[in-house]
C-alpha cells in the first residue's frame, strides 16, 4: 500500500499526520512541507516570537524528534507542484514522485503581494514564516520608524509588538477602522482607539501608492498624497489559498479547495483541511474557509480520521484569538453581515462581548478581555436557536443558562472517537 500522504506541514498537515499515526499504528504516513523547519505554530510569529520572548522550540507543534519516533516519513524543504488524481501520484518540484492511496492537501495560504511600486525594496517586510519573523525582529529597535500596511489581525498584532519595542508606528488601512469588514465599525472603532492610545498613528481610508527608496525603503507614499518617511515597512494585506498545484488534478477549486462536511474533495480519496479548505460547515449550512489556528488543528485531525475510513462531519464552531497590548480579543462563530449587534458590557470599558445577530440567532461573538462569554456563547451559536437579546445584554445572566435543553456541549474530535 502506498499509504497516506499529507501535502503541507503547517498546523493542519502536522495535526493530520499526528492523527493518522494515533489512529493507525501501521499506516504509512508521509508529510511533505515546503519549509525546511519542522511543523510550527504561526500565532506567536506576530506576538511572543516577534517580541523576542519565545524561542523557536516553543513554536513547534511537536518536538523535532517526534516524527522519526512516530515513524512519520517527512520530506521538509520539498515543494509539491502537481497532483495526478488518476495515477495517484504527487509530483515534487525536484522531479521526485510520491504515490498515495489517500491524500490530504493542507497547503494553506500565501500572503498577497499587491503590485505596488517599490514593494521589492529592502526593508519592506511581510510575515508568514518563522524566517519572515526573524528578519522583521532584527529591524525592531526603539526609535526606529515603521509603516504597517493593512490593519487586519496580523497588522494590528505587529503594530502592538512594534510599539512594545518603542518603534514609532504609522498604520494604514483602506477601511474606516481596523478590521471594519470583519468585525464591523463599532468594534473596529474601539480597536482604532486602542492602537491610538498606545501611540500608533493611524491613517484610515487610504492605501499605499508606492514604496520609495534607493535599494532600501525610505518612505511610503499613499494614494491620498501622504509621504511618510520610515526605516522599514510591514505589508499585511490579505492572503490567497495555495491551489496552483491542483491545476489539471480534477479537484474542484472554489475560494480554496471545495470540500464537503467530511473534508473530502470532489476526487475520491483526496481530502483538504486548514486554511486552504473551503469546507461545507453543517452548522452554518454553507461553505466556510477559515484561516485560523483552531480550525487548522481540529480540521486536520478530523480529515485524518475520515482518510482512515471514518465518516465524521467536522462541525466545530470556528474560534480564534488575537492579543494586542493588554487586550485579548476572541471571536467565535461565523458571520458576514449582521442585522443587529448586541453589546454585553461597554465598548470602551475594557471588557465586553458583542454578538452578531441575524434573525434573532447568534451567528458570531467577539469578546475583548472576555474569553469566558465567548466560550459560553459557542453552544448558543451551535444551537442555531433564537436568543433573547435582553438576556444577552444583561451581564448578570450566565450565558450557559440560555442554552436550550438538552444542552449539547461542543463536541470535539477526541471525545467523539470514544463515543
Amino acid at each position: 500500500m502506498a499509504g497516506f500522504v499529507v501535502i503541507g506541514a503547517g498546523l493542519a498537515g502536522a495535526s493530520a499526520a499526528i492523527a493518522l499515526r494515533k489512529y493507525s499504528i501501521d499506516a504509512r504516513v508521509t508529510l511533505i512541507g515546503e519549509e525546511d523547519e519542522v511543523p510550527y505554530e504561526r500565532p506567536p510569529l506576530s506576538k511572543g516570537y516577534l517580541r523576542g520572548e519565545q524561542p523557536v522550540e516553543k513554536l513547534l507543534v511537536r518536538p523535532r524528534e517526534f516524527y522519526e519516533e512516530q515513524a512519520i516519513d517527512t520530506m521538509f524543504g520539498s515543494r509539491a507542484c502537481r497532483i495526478d488524481g488518476t495515477q495517484r501520484v504527487v509530483h515534487l518540484a525536484d522531479d521526485r514522485r510520491v504515490p498515495f492511496d489517500r491524500l490530504l492537501i493542507a497547503t494553506g495560504v500565501r500572503n498577497r503581494r499587491p503590485p505596488i511600486p517599490g514593494i521589492e525594496l529592502q526593508g519592506v517586510h511581510q510575515l508568514r514564516t518563522v524566517r519572515d519573523a526573524t528578519r522583521l525582529r532584527a529591524e525592531m529597535r526603539a526609535g526606529r520608524r515603521a509603516v504597517v500596511v493593512g490593519m487586519g489581525f496580523i497588522g494590528c498584532e505587529v503594530a502592538a509588538s512594534l510599539r512594545h519595542h518603542q518603534v514609532e508606528v504609522v498604520a494604514i488601512d483602506p477601511g474606516p477602522t481596523p478590521l471594519a469588514r470583519v468585525l464591523g465599525e463599532a468594534v473596529g472603532g474601539m480597536l482604532a482607539a486602542l492602537h491610538a492610545s498606545y501611540g500608533v498613528h493611524t491613517v484610515f481610508n487610504d492605501a499605499v501608492e508606492a514604496f520609495e527608496g534607493d535599494g532600501r525603503i525610505a518612505a511610503v507614499v499613499t494614494k491620498a498624497g501622504l509621504r511618510i518617511p520610515c526605516d522599514f515597512a510591514v505589508v499585511g494585506v490579505g492572503v490567497e489559498a495555495v491551489v496552483d498545484l491542483l491545476d489539471g488534478s480534477g479537484i474542484r477549486v472554489d475560494n480554496g479547495i471545495a470540500v464537503d462536511q467530511y473534508c473530502a474533495t470532489s476526487v475520491g480519496g483526496i481530502f483538504a483541511a486548514g486554511d486552504v479548505a473551503n469546507h461545507f460547515h453543517p452548522v452554518f449550512g454553507r461553505h466556510i474557509r477559515v484561516e485560523h489556528w483552531q480550525n487548522a488543528m481540529r480540521q486536520g485531525d478530523n480529515a485524518a480520521r475520515n482518510m482512515l475510513g471514518e465518516r465524521i462531519a467536522y462541525d466545530d464552531i470556528p474560534w480564534f484569538w488575537s492579543d494586542q497590548y493588554d487586550a485579548n480579543i476572541q471571536y467565535a462563530g461565523h458571520h458576514t453581515g449582521y442585522e443587529e449587534l448586541i453589546l454585553r458590557g461597554q465598548l470602551h470599558g475594557g471588557s465586553y462581548a458583542a454578538f452578531y445577530m441575524n434573525g434573532g440567532v447568534i451567528d458570531a461573538v467577539v469578546g475583548v478581555n472576555n474569553a469566558r462569554d465567548v466560550r459560553r456563547a459557542m453552544p448558543l451559536i451551535k444551537a442555531r436557536q433564537p436568543v433573547d437579546p435582553g438576556q444577552l445584554r444583561d451581564e448578570s445572566v450566565d450565558l450557559r443558562s440560555l442554552a436550550t435543553p438538552p444542552s449539547d456541549p461542543v463536541r470535539t474530535p477526541s471525545s467523539s472517537a470514544t463515543a
Partner: protein
C-alpha cells in the same frame, strides 16, 4: 519522603459545581466540587499557564478560558487540545469540615 494529606480549605468554601484556588505549600492547586466530590489539580493549564480555576467546570470537565483546552478533573487527562500534557492531579480526603489534599 512520604506524601502527606494537608488541610487546604473548608469544604463549605468550594461552591457546588465550582472551583477555587488554594495555596498548599506554595503550590497553586485548583479544587473542583463536582456534586459533593472534590477533585484537586494544578491550577496552571499545561498549555500556556492560564488559571484553570478561572475556567468553566461542566461535570468533571474543566475548560481553560484562554485557548479552550479541556481536562478531566478526575484523572488530569487531556480531553481537548491545544494542551498535550495532562494536568497533575492530587488525592483529596474530607476530614470533618475540611478538605485535605495529598502533596
Amino acid at each position: 519522603m512520604a506524601e502527606v494529606f494537608v488541610p487546604a480549605i473548608k469544604i463549605a468554601d468550594v461552591p457546588a459545581n465550582g472551583m477555587v484556588v488554594v495555596d498548599v505549600n506554595g503550590a497553586r492547586i485548583a479544587v473542583a466540587n463536582v456534586q459533593g466530590q472534590f477533585y484537586a489539580f494544578d491550577d496552571e493549564c499545561t498549555h500556556e499557564q492560564c488559571s484553570l480555576a478561572e475556567g468553566d467546570l461542566a461535570g468533571t470537565t474543566v475548560t481553560c478560558m484562554c485557548h479552550g483546552a479541556e481536562f478531566d478533573v478526575r484523572s488530569g487527562a487531556v480531553l481537548a487540545p491545544p494542551a498535550v500534557v495532562p494536568v497533575k492531579v492530587y488525592r483529596t480526603r474530607v476530614d470533618g469540615d475540611a478538605l485535605h489534599i495529598e502533596v
